[in-house]
Amino acid sequence: MDLFLQLSANGLVLGMFYALSALGLTLVFGLMRVVNFAHGELYVVGGLIGWALTETLGLNFFVTLAIVVVVLGIAGYLIDRLLITWVRGQGEEPTILLTIGLSIFITNTALLIVGTTPQTVLSPFKSKPLFLGPVVLTQSRLFLVAICAALIVGAYLLIQRTGLGRAMRATFQDPMAAQLVGIRTAHIYGFTLALGAALAGAAGMLLGSIYVVQATIGGVVSLKAFVVVILGGMGSFPGAIVGGLILGLAEALWGGYVNTGYVDAIGFGLVIVMLLVRPYGLFGKRIERA
């Protein structure tokens, strides 16, 4: 029983991290209808910048986090304004191919610069264990779960409560009408991708302080994020959280009770079953099916 509780706790923590890493993807996917296959690579870039600034330059963790968010935001804005704008309105396929090309470029350029060595972001949080009854968790993980929750709530409020968020939603409901009421839609597209990229980078840096960040993990991160988004339903914030928690729990329990070799395959199995049974995800709207 204690083992079960411990595994569940690990799974829930892992699930929150998955939710955070999928947040930028679900936002861009749900609002913009842009399938960003370079999401995992933006995550890696965030992690690597975080590592470079904290480890080699000795910058403060939170200052670095702010820098990562700004840099990735600018990168996302430029990616949209320089690349994606060329293929907007041509359907899904060109965007998919474009972002795949971009991910190939980012991964291999990152490999050239930092090599294959796994790196860790220096964290100010202690890895001191906390005992909650039979369950043991480290302080740093609990802090990160709190930061994850704050970021998720912050992104949700930005979309639902601010002028920028309203302009975003208007643009994606009806670009023409949005233009008529004076919204500069080209900027809104750019800002949405910037927000997605900034969230991906922040996730990469935060999780890079617990796990490792490596130039080649982008593909796996993208895939897991897609798993979370499909499980939860695209564009849905509660969906991303629930999808992340399900994936985290399933992986932790499978790894604890069955075997560790196939842990990464669990998510893919879940996705295949989910798409066959409920293609619009747990929280998606019915029309948004695959």
């Binding site: 998919i96 090309g101 350029t109 895939l223 798409l275 066959l276 293609p279 695959a290």
Partner: protein, 328 residues
């Protein structure tokens, strides 16, 4: 149709005489690579160009073919002439199974789920050590006896002609398929799913047939690869083969049979040419993909045929005094 046939036949004749002109085993090695890439690109193109979906995990079939040939050769000691057809058959059967799941999905979901299948297969190849030797891979796959009877140049030339034969078969089958009723139905589905359904075409069935054929050709390429390099490891399911395939099909022009052949030749030569740059090569490839999507969405062949069409021009077909009909 006639244009494609003529170009392909010319390419075949050129390839038949290539070993006479290009001496040396390095040139032959590149030739074998081109043949192998032509098969892979043709296979991917059947799905991208004729179903209109994008299977990012297409290496699944290549890997299944490679492992089938390797296992049959190493564990059962069967000869090249049995293992390679078996690789194609096993890959085609798994194509039916995987296609039955994935073809219900479209757009990004299709992309992701095909990728999931390739990842799962890679994990199996890595973890099922008893069968696949895990990360060590299977080595010592026998080469065909014909190739072993001579020196290294003779080996390469034999493999070149075997590759040419297999690539020729793949292209011939694809050609007959694309210009059959099944192929035309698949194109109708690609162009407009609902119109196709309204004239009685069942998209799922035609998609599945195309998928199985593409998987079979991918498996054929896998079997050939296994015997040529006489080693197969989990990296056959990896992403680097996928990157090459994507660029071949996109650069050449999807939805044409000549396009992927041209793309395969270009990519193989470019890979050799860029060998000095080593890791930078893949960064450049990423940029090439981005540039093609933006500037050359229909690939080289699409570009050429469009120039061809505008050169003949609809304007000349319509007399000047009827021109207002066209403009209206």
């Amino acid at each position: 149709m006639a244009f494609e046939r003529n170009v392909l036949l010319t390419a075949l004749v050129l390839a038949l005489f290539a070993p006479l002109v290009l001496q040396g085993d390095y040139a032959m090695h590149i030739g074998v690579n081109i043949m192998f890439s032509v098969m892979l690109a043709t296979s991917l193109n059947l799905i991208v160009g004729y179903i209109g979906e994008f299977p990012l995990g297409h290496t699944a079939f290549f890997g299944i073919g490679a492992y089938t040939a390797a296992l049959l050769s190493v564990r059962a000691g069967l000869s090249f002439y049995i293992t390679v057809p078996a690789a194609a058959v096993v890959a085609a059967v798994s194509g039916v199974l995987i296609g039955a799941v994935t073809l219900r999905l479209r757009g990004p979901f299709f992309v992701i789920v095909t990728l999931c299948f390739a990842e799962v297969l890679r994990l199996v190849a890595n973890n099922w050590v008893d069968l696949t030797n895990g990360p060590m891979g299977l080595s010592g796959i026998a080469k065909p006896s014909l190739a072993m009877s001579g020196d290294i140049l003779w080996q390469k030339v034999t493999f070149f002609y075997i590759g040419l034969l297999l690539a020729g078969i793949s292209l011939f089958v694809s050609y007959r398929f694309v210009y059959s009723n099944v192929g035309r139905a698949a194109i109708a589905v690609r162009e407009n799913r609902f119109v196709a359904q309204s004239v009685g075409i069942w998209p799922f069935y035609f998609g599945l047939v195309t998928f199985a054929l593409a998987a079979g050709i991918g498996g054929l390429a896998g079997g050939f690869y296994a015997h040529y390099f006489s080693y197969v490891g989990p990296e056959v399911f990896g992403f680097s083969f996928m990157i090459s395939m994507i660029i071949m099909v996109l650069a050449g022009g999807k939805g044409t049979l000549v396009g992927p052949v041209v793309g395969a030749v270009i990519v193989v030569l470019l890979e050799e040419y860029l060998r000095d740059f080593k890791e930078l090569r893949f960064s450049i490839f990423g940029l090439i993909v981005v540039a093609i999507v933006i500037f050359l969405p229909r690939g080289l062949m699409g570009f050429i045929t469009r120039r061809h069409e505008t050169y003949k021009g609809p304007d000349k077909a319509i007399p000047a005094d009827k021109a207002e009909l066209r403009d209206a």
